[in-house]
Subunit: 427 residues, 2 copies
């Protein structure tokens, strides 16, 4: 039933049906958690070999380096090489770090704010600083901006990535616009992959700030669901070099959702100047990262092809979960007229847009029926979704049966809220 | 030969002998590295079991938590408990972190500088800030101060720790003196353990700055060499609580030199307010630390007693190395009149004081003979040893035969420089 076209009477009838369905779900005493993008147990189990690939003292010595001892603040050379292959950047410009690329981003931002950017070295602190934030986006990027008191400007996305006319206009005219967060492939949560043109324009555009920086969070670089291989995107680093803007991108990735979240390895890459700049802090902050875990990853994967083969197994496990969510949404809300959702080719999320003004209430109703979703609004700066309609759905972690129930609950709540709202509007 | 009492002629004769000995060492084409305090292979091998204690998927699930997945930004409860036992602080006030307590210190300092201290929240940034630095001390503490543009005031140490009259005077009178770095047990490099009175006075003293903070780097908490057990020291946390100064200490430790440097676990502990303050940043900076590695440590050690049993094996390996260094120094320089050195009961270093004005040259001569020591001056703020006489000796890593040669070279160089200097002075 297309609720935008339905009359008040039909809507009221539909509301009754939905309320009954909702009460039924409430009576089931559910306890389902769909709130975070976490791998499921079957995915984690794929990396069992990582646990034993270094089992004996001698295994820990590799290419002359004892991974167990202090040394190599930039990371184990073989691990830097693995990331260089995965990111297609020179190995000399890659730092293999600790367990979290988020921490590397936080630290890089801290350095920008308090020490200034490489080559410019004028701290951002004490001045009005703005960042462009494609929306819907990743709440933890927004949290970093908020922590450092950086004003966030939401930038709408379309299927090619952030709307570049606006990005160019803002970055080109306002010197307080100092940077941008990007998840270029299988974006969180919309699933968009930036088009060649988008990346070209990001690399080429004039910026009013000489120290404009793009946080290029390639978190889902190899995390495809369909197509049998990850999408290829334009190499931001090469493109920026081409246009003489090589210091613009700060590139991050990690193995968190390849092997084990929290027990993976993060990486940073950037121009020579950015690399030296990054190292200057790193070398005071730390003696070295966990090279034993870096070596585990090297021995487990061998090379970038090894990573891809591993990701095929992930896709096998989680693609059906995404299919199920999409099928249930289609079945329950396909003709409803008010909702749309992403059909991602990769990444960890489905982005759902419901009837405006209903996301918070839908989320709350789900919660009251025992199904936790990511807090509504989280996908926007300051946790404020201006239309109150976006919900991030994270299908990977729950078992299939839980997932089915959770999405059915969600569909009922979303429609119920929409119908109620619509009746109000017609009254 | 006591060179302070010898006449010029005897000194010149002695110089000839020493030069011959030095040339002999140079001809050996040595390549020995004594520069850092690293465990040797035999010590690392003690933790082989750590590598396999989590070998199967099921091993990674502990007390209902899958250590492989995102969660628990404060660390695995069982790992927090282990550190709480080791530090004798409440488990609710402990964060089990990543692989480096140095990083935790850097981050805490960053937070103090840019966000201000817990309960005060007035950033230190933009004002003259001074820290008291017991000397000789740990170069990486000094590097942190230098990075954040904190002026370091060297504080002399005696066998009871930093000279408390001076500490009380400076901290009590100057509000720009905001804190202090302490390695309270088996200090780096002097080996001193702070006396009960020292710790009591540190806890009790009036400070002009309301946000005075002690970085209590208990890096060698359990790292004894003699006596069959680690020295007991006064619990700084309890003592500060007693005097109403519970926010004063920021307590750090790690397993770096218990299991594997770089692949260990670091920890932070502090008052409720400091804990909340620490978490506020941590929760933006990171989703969680590497809980798999935390769980490895929990399963490998079981409890603090397990750690102590492990440390006995370390002592067995490295105590003879310390003995050898002390014996060679005694044999070569025992009656020389110009040198003294620490005889540590624990920790990783011997601190050597030679003839004033000779440390840099001695270090360089060793280097030219193929024996690398920690750069002279490193044990002082700004790498400036005012008397140019201190050398940190790190006996743990080299095999016994290398160590013997290295110290023999060092003793010859130290005496040679001293004799040369003495001749100059008499001319």
């Amino acid at each position: 039933m297309d609720i935008l076209k339905a009359d008040k009477q039909s809507l009221e009838k539909r509301l009754d049906e939905l309320k009954k369905q909702y009460e039924h779900f409430k009576s089931l005493d559910l306890k389902l958690d769909m709130s975070r993008g976490k791998p499921c147990r079957e995915q984690l189990a794929l990396s069992e070999g990582l646990l034993t690939v270094i089992s004996h003292n001698d295994d820990a010595v590799y290419e002359g380096t004892d991974s167990r001892n202090y040394s190599l603040p930039l990371g184990l050379p073989a691990c830097r090489k693995l990331f260089a292959e995965m990111l297609d950047v020179p190995v000399s410009n890659v730092v293999a770090g600790g367990n979290s690329s988020l921490t590397m981003m936080f630290d890089a931002m801290s350095q920008l704010v308090y020490m200034g950017a490489a080559g410019v070295l004028e701290p951002w602190h004490g001045r009005k600083i703005k960042f462009l934030c494609p929306v819907p986006g990743y709440d933890r990027h927004f949290d970093i901006c908020e922590y450092f008191d950086i004003e966030m400007i939401p930038i709408e996305m379309d299927e090619n990535g952030p709307k570049m006319d606006i990005v160019e206009q803002l970055a080109g005219s306002d010197p307080s616009v100092k940077g941008m967060f990007c998840v270029p492939k299988y974006s969180n949560p919309g699933g968009q992959t930036y088009s060649d043109e988008t990346i070209d324009r990001l690399s080429k555009m004039k910026t009013a700030a000489p120290d404009f920086r793009i946080f290029w969070d390639n978190a889902y670089n190899v995390h495809y669901l369909t197509g049998g291989a990850p999408r290829k995107i334009v190499n931001i680093y090469e493109r920026c070099v081409l246009y003489g803007n090589e210091d613009r991108p700060l590139i991050f990735t990690s193995t968190s959702k390849i092997t084990m979240p929290g027990a993976g390895v993060g990486a940073f890459a950037g121009s020579d100047r950015n690399f030296d700049w990054y190292f200057k802090r790193l070398n005071v902050q730390s003696i070295c990262a966990d090279k034993v875990n870096q070596l585990r990853h090297v021995l487990f994967f061998k090379n970038a092809d090894g990573v891809l083969a591993h990701m095929a197994k992930h896709a096998e496990i989680i693609a059906p979960k995404f299919d199920m969510v999409e099928n249930i949404l289609e079945e329950k809300l396909g003709g409803c007229g008010f909702a749309s959702w992403s059909k991602p080719e990769g990444g960890y999320f489905i982005s759902f847009d419901g009837y405006p003004g209903c996301a918070k209430k839908t989320n709350l109703m789900c919660k009251e029926a025992g199904v936790a979703f990511t807090a509504a609004g989280s996908t926007f700066p300051y946790k404020k979704d201006p239309l109150d309609r976006n919900q991030r759905i994270a299908p990977t972690m729950p078992p299939v049966s839980d997932l089915k129930t959770a999405i059915e609950v969600f569909a009922v709540c979303a429609e119920l809220c929409a119908v109620e709202k619509r009746i109000e509007e017609l009254s």
